[in-house]
């Protein structure tokens, strides 16, 4: 663990993001904690999968890492340096995003050349001739013919657009790529192509990924470690084998079960947890997961669980806390 920490390219320390949300015209602004005390570390060359249901705060976390949102508290360190202390341009060279919706992530008024060469132009790298060469090179790498340079996003399919978005993210050779559900807006047939491309690129360029998804099957395919998020908190973290073989948290178990049902990997998985996802403005007391938890006890309703180390990572659940009264009762 300490060795991992040492060469972590990306580290989050107790990062919290609170939005103030106004309800109604004259309603008072209420806090909405989208990301709640998240600590993660991402070693170089690894792929950390971040899974959780819609609205649990995955994209908010991604935006904080990209410097698009400021955390309300906590620190984000890139190569041991805090994000706020780095200037935007040098941060942009290190971390690049690939977004979910390739129909929204490419400016419809710009040609593919303009879109892919934007990082070069913003960072003032080279001249017109160099941009042309670089764009051809990166388009070739992501598997697009050079003639797409003069076309517009509206002329392309979803898979082709996502390749353009990948080309734009990689043209400056970043170290870390934040993939925010890069395949969930694509046809199933194209999803695996893009996933394979991302896997190949990682090996080729030694990239580090934070791979966000609500689909555990996709994460299993690509990730080396997995963090499970629920209502802004990381409730379980483990390496891939550990998580898929021995999921501890009841929420992780429910997510895994939803992958095993014969539902195609489209849309939000049915967790079979019955109850609706709670409103993040009014999170449940104690353990946030207790209203949907099949193993809920009185204790869960009152006390929030603490983070406990496991052989492969950590988990936040009273079931695994030797101090908690419910495990004592069970043992007794």
């Amino acid at each position: 663990m300490s060795q991992q920490k040492q060469n972590a390219v990306l580290e989050l320390r107790n990062v919290t993001k609170t939005y103030r949300v106004k309800q109604g015209l004259f309603g008072k602004a209420r806090p909405l904690t989208a990301v709640n005390d998240v600590s993660l570390s991402l070693p170089r060359g690894e792929v950390l999968g971040l899974v959780g249901e819609s609205g649990c705060g995955k994209s908010t976390l991604a935006k904080i890492l990209l410097g698009l949102e400021m955390p309300s508290s906590g620190q984000v360190l890139v190569d041991g340096q805090e994000i706020g202390a780095q200037d935007r341009l040098s941060l942009a060279r290190r971390i690049q995003p690939i977004f979910q919706d390739p129909y929204s992530s490419l400016n419809p008024r710009k040609s593919i050349f303009d879109i892919v060469s934007l990082p070069l132009r913003v960072h003032g790298v080279g001249q017109q001739a160099d941009w042309d060469r670089e764009v051809r090179k990166i388009l070739d790498i992501v598997g697009l013919p050079a003639r797409v340079m003069n076309t517009y996003p509206s002329q392309m399919s979803g898979g082709q657009r996502q390749r353009v978005a990948i080309a734009r993210a990689l043209i400056m050779k970043p170290e870390i790529v934040i993939c925010d559900e890069p395949t969930s807006a694509l046809d199933v047939s194209v999803q695996s192509q893009i996933l394979n491309l991302l896997g190949d690129l990682r090996r080729e360029f030694g990239l580090t990924y934070l791979f966000i998804s609500h689909d555990l099957a996709v994460v299993e395919h690509l990730a080396t470690r997995v963090a499970v998020m629920y209502l802004g908190r990381i409730v379980e973290e483990a390496d891939v084998a550990g998580l898929f073989d021995a999921a501890r948290h009841p929420y992780t178990q429910a997510l895994l079960k939803s992958v095993l049902t014969p539902e195609p990997g489209l849309g939000v998985p049915d967790t079979q947890l019955g109850m609706a996802y709670p409103n993040p403005i009014d999170p449940p007391s104690g353990c946030h997961f207790h209203p949907r938890c099949p193993m809920m006890t009185e204790h869960c309703r009152k006390v929030a669980p603490r983070s406990l180390p496991t052989p492969q990572g950590r988990v936040e659940c009273h079931l695994f806390d030797p101090e908690s009264p419910m495990t004592k009762a069970e043992v007794a």
């Binding site: 913003v122 070739d140 598997g143 076309t151 002329q155 399919s157 390749r163």
Partner: protein, 300 residues
């Protein structure tokens, strides 16, 4: 380059039309837009080449030939649209009047467009306090009746072409601000804006090169609306005697000067009224057409 092979070689051909081609096709398929564009184009040419087109000096009075009727009411070809109460050639005044109307429309829309767009885009992009201030200013502006304020200002400063243009320019920015604020809010949340910011693009660059091209269609529509608005307001002010001052040929002024004779010589009012109507109709048709033509593009 081994990666190229590992990706799908069966990438489908990219054959669809470019946005430019699609736009051209839609423009030429839209009748309202074509009609409005052609009428506006003709009026613009008339205004620019007024000295070449006008058969007479628009200021030359001739008390011997006052209120001659137009050709179609039994007049002569010497004055195809007749003469006014001072014997000035009505067609020539009409042609020079196009200059006044279009100049006021274009410059007032330009001034208010710059003010309103700057405010609206700033409010939509930055949100928070900036948005609060801009929204407050919009509300203040909306609480002021345009005609009354313009009347008061012109009454104090005296009417002239310049004063009318500046007053209208400073009054008509509210719709620009409202529409640009809403459009910016909408576009700001798109992922390509987040991507540009994550690339490290500066705020001016994000606004000018990522946001503006995607809200320009709405801007053009408001420009046409406000042009028509300014032209009508100028006519109204001139009609009330507080706009462009005589002897400048302005269509509103021509209606005003003709109104005393309306019962006996109705064409004195109808002719400038009709061209005013035609100009405003053409501008509005063009605005509607531009909205129709550019909107589907935005959906993708």
């Amino acid at each position: 380059m081994a990666l190229t092979e590992s990706t799908d070689p069966l990438l489908q051909e990219i054959t669809g039309p470019t946005p430019g081609q699609m736009l051209r096709k839609r423009v030429f398929g839209h009748q309202g837009l074509l009609f409005g564009g052609i009428v506006l184009g003709i009026l613009l040419l008339v205004a620019i080449f007024a000295p070449l087109l006008a058969p007479h000096d628009p200021y030359a009075q001739s008390l011997m030939t006052r209120m001659e009727p137009p050709v179609f009411l039994g007049g002569t070809w010497e004055h195809p649209l007749g003469t006014d109460h001072l014997g000035r050639d009505y067609l020539s005044r009409l042609i020079y009047g196009a200059r006044v109307s279009l100049m006021i429309g274009v410059i007032a829309a330009l001034i208010s467009g710059v003010i309103g767009t700057a405010m609206g885009v700033a409010a939509g992009y930055f949100g928070g306090r900036v948005d609060m201030v801009v929204t407050f200013l919009i509300n203040v502006r909306l609480a002021m009746p345009v005609v009354l304020v313009a009347l008061a200002v012109v009454a104090i400063l005296g009417g002239s072409l310049q004063v009318v243009i500046v007053v209208l320019g400073l009054l008509l920015w509210d719709r620009f601000a409202v529409v640009m604020r809403a459009s910016t809010l909408q576009v700001r949340g798109r992922e390509y804006v987040a991507a540009a910011r994550a690339i490290g693009a500066s705020t001016p660059r994000v606004i000018l090169s990522e946001i503006m091209p995607n809200i320009a269609n709405n801007l053009i529509v408001v420009v046409t609306l406000e042009m028509a608005h300014a032209i009508l307001l100028e006519a109204a002010l001139s009609f009330l005697g507080l706009g462009v001052q005589p002897p400048t040929p302005s269509w509103g002024l021509m209606v005003s000067e003709g109104k005393n004779m309306m019962l006996f010589e109705p064409w004195l009012v109808l002719i400038p009224g009709a061209v005013l109507f035609l100009l405003v109709l053409a501008i509005n048709l063009m605005g509607d057409g531009l909205r129709d033509v550019t909107a589907p593009d935005n959906r993708s």
